[in-house]
Amino acid sequence: MSLWSRISNAVHGERLNREIDEELQSHIEEAIASGRDPKEARRAFGCALHTREASHSIRAVGWLESLLDDISFGWRQLCRNKVTSVAAVLSLALGIGSCVAAFRLIDALLWRPLPMSNPGNLYVLSHKMTGFDGKPIEDGHWATRDFNLMRDAVQDQADLIAISDADRTDITWSTDDDIEKAHAAYVSGNMFPIFGLKPALGRLLSRVDDRGPGLSSYAVLSWDYWNHRFGRDPHVLGSLLHIGDQTFEIIGVGPRDFTGTEKGTVTDIFLPLSMNRFATQDRMDWHRVFLMLKPGVNPATALEPLRQHLSAVNRAFGADCATCFRGADQAAVNRYLNQTLSFYPAGAGISDLQKEYRRLLGALGFLAALVLLIACVNVANLMTAQGAARAQEMALRISIGAGRRRLVQLILCQSTLLAVVASVLGAFFAAWSAPFVLSLINPPDNPARLALAADWRVRLFGFGLILVVVLLLGLLPALRASAVRPVAALKGGEDPHSPRRIMRGAIALQVAFCCLVLFLSSLFVASFRRLQNRPLGFSTDRLLLLETVAGKGQLPGVWIQTAEALSAVPGANSVAIARWPLLGRIQINSDISINGAPPSATPAFFLNVSPGWLSTMKIPLVFGRDFYPQDTSPGAAIVNQTFANTFFPGQDPIGRTFARDANQPLYHIVGVTPDVPYHDLREPSRAVFYIPFVEINDQSAPKAVDFATFVIHTDTQNPLALAGSLRQFIAQRHNGLRVSNITTQLDLFRDQTIRERLIALLAAFFAVVALLLAGIGLYAVLNYSVLRRRREIGIRMAIGAPRVGIVRLVTLDVFVTIALGCWAGVALGFGAARYVESLFYQVKATDADMIASPTCAILLTALVATLPAVLRALHTDPTEILRSQ
């Protein structure tokens, strides 16, 4: 109560003074009223002003009052230099906002613990092994029987949990509905209980649901999916969900925050592990395995024995799998079985998005931090300039008794004001930009989704950032101001070079950071452009892709008839069928055996295509011919040049044969195409062979096809304009085919460049901001230095210094500083580039143009920024200056 009244009195200092005055006045009036002589009464009272001062300091919090004074003084200072202050606040806001946004993204994707109990005790298992091609592999996927064996082996110390990746799955809610997409994950029944999750509705899956393959056809919805698909309708319990030929009953809805363990993907539906057909296939490594230590088990001592125990179980499982390695070389099998298990902490979830974007977000955060640093240096520079201009004021304050602490407080107040105002703006910027950047990670099939909460973690970070900014901004000017020697400053004779030295150092720092940002961005932008302009070997123009499914399968004839019908639709130019699109998600390889020999070490990738697919994709033939309609697989094959060079080096491949394993039917090579990227734009050329869409079995009867993609070259510029009508067209034929997904070849191509585009875009943005800030900083410093040296310049001109000499005087040391800064920046850039090398495509940090372009940009900016100051120096009128000073 009393402290509160003192705080309130500090805020209302004037009112307090009035109150005290009123009371003292009433005292004297009482004295006079009681008959005393007014003069005597006043004398007996003593010095009223002294009493008021003493009373005031008792009744108000002194330091708070002086702080408030300083804040209001600082605010007035900021308002006086409006343009400078606005520039300072905006640049700081941009820097702070970018840093906070980067932190939000990094935190949400990589650091934030999953909403579950004891996330710190959760680990994920992965195995390192030597692949059959001799290359080391690290993989985090496991076979279900292997998982079951391992789980039972260590159940005393830890729980093992199986969770599959949340795949985008075709689902229908009642048999006649359209196909929808949802992210479905298969989980072992112990996941929900071990994670300590409680249902929002109904019940969750439990250990009972692991009872056996196909026995537990229940599904749990995630809260998020229940919310946006069903509007939180409680009657969803009991409704039926169809996936392929399976039917699931909805038994419950998960807790509100839990969206699965795969950061970046929101799981919509949780299904029992045992319901997936892969669960019975020993060769299929298809789900992740998590390990949750039992409470009270010490991770430091327990993990290593657990790892060894699990390794032994895993090895026994591998050796036990008789069918797994049929025909493979025994040494290779042994190498493969010799797996090393490792645990990784998985409390923050685990996903491919994390793996892919960890470096990118790191680079992004680094660039944002650099921009903030540049902005800080900039503003500190401006404040130093102002501080130097205020040296006389500071000296005066010290002479009349201000403590140096009070002076430091005065300046820190000003920088805090700047930082706080900037951080408010920055918070708005971060609130907008973090979701915006996330929305750029937007493959149409699987846009990244993250919960970007603005909770205490973000606020704590923001608060720490403000503190750092205040110190960066204020400390140097504050120390300088407090070191003012009043006598020297008031005489006007303080060393005129000392603030310039500091500012020049700051310029060097700024240029170095700016150069670093520019250098990294030019690398990222060049990477993106080279990837974007990579020669594809096929056309992505006007190609519509209808990914189509056919339940349990339809004969190739049905597919081919549908394709022919599609080609008659107005707007469709040519139509072909491929089992899956190029640059899509699917890639399948096959052993290659030449002349009945055992399969070679390098497998080749394949794709079933219909006649005309090559011309629809605009892939030319180097030799030979396209498929005829009567060609079947096995039978004919078209190979790419890498295939020909790998398996038939120096020979004419046309007419040669190969098989997909020893003692399998032969394929005759009928054509050769150039290499085109098959799965990944960044990959080096790989051996690919194309085989006819129509596959036949041993009895020469065609095999049913359960999914394929119609590739349609359209007349219109925007192929998606035809999507709706073509989807309906196929549905109306009622021949068992249903369109499951529609995309374009261009979108698939763009998907592959999303990461590069994102980092190039943001890096270019940061580069522009950094350049702008550096330009403003240079301009301010040079302008200031010319103003300070007006007298010197005037004298020099008066005694006949040539103009060139004046220009040199003004600019020489600045350009030396810039050169030093550039050099340091590029040196730093080499170091930093090594860390983000994995994000580059066909670009090296040592490329001459990568170094040249940022340096040129900085020099150009420096020229533009110094021009006004140079002109001002040249237009100095010696007579006027000398007269006024």
Binding site: M1, S2, R6, E19, I20, E22, E23, L24, S26, H27, E29, E30, A31, S34, A44, F45, G46, C47, A48, H50, T51, A54, S55, I58, R59
Partner: protein, 109 residues
Amino acid sequence: MAKTDALQGSLDLLVLKILSRRPRLHGYAIMAAIASRSGEVLRAEEGSLYPALYRMEEAGWIRAEWIKKDSGRRARVYELTAAGKKQLGVEESRWQSISLAINRVLREV
């Protein structure tokens, strides 16, 4: 000056004592009461009363209130709080023991 010094250590005690007898006095009345009770011996520099009052107010021994006087002007009146009553006891016993001790010294020399 000598009078003031004599008061210095005991001003709190006097103010508390006066207020315990007669609540709701303004500053001038407190001062006048001290002067009249002491037979005009104890007279402080009147202005120094106020910082002492404010200090005691901050300490929570007394509380103040603005009232309107008949003349239409405002006056700030003070009264003892519970903490002030306790403090009065402490100050009184301290004063007793000090004056006893001083008396003892005076007697023996």
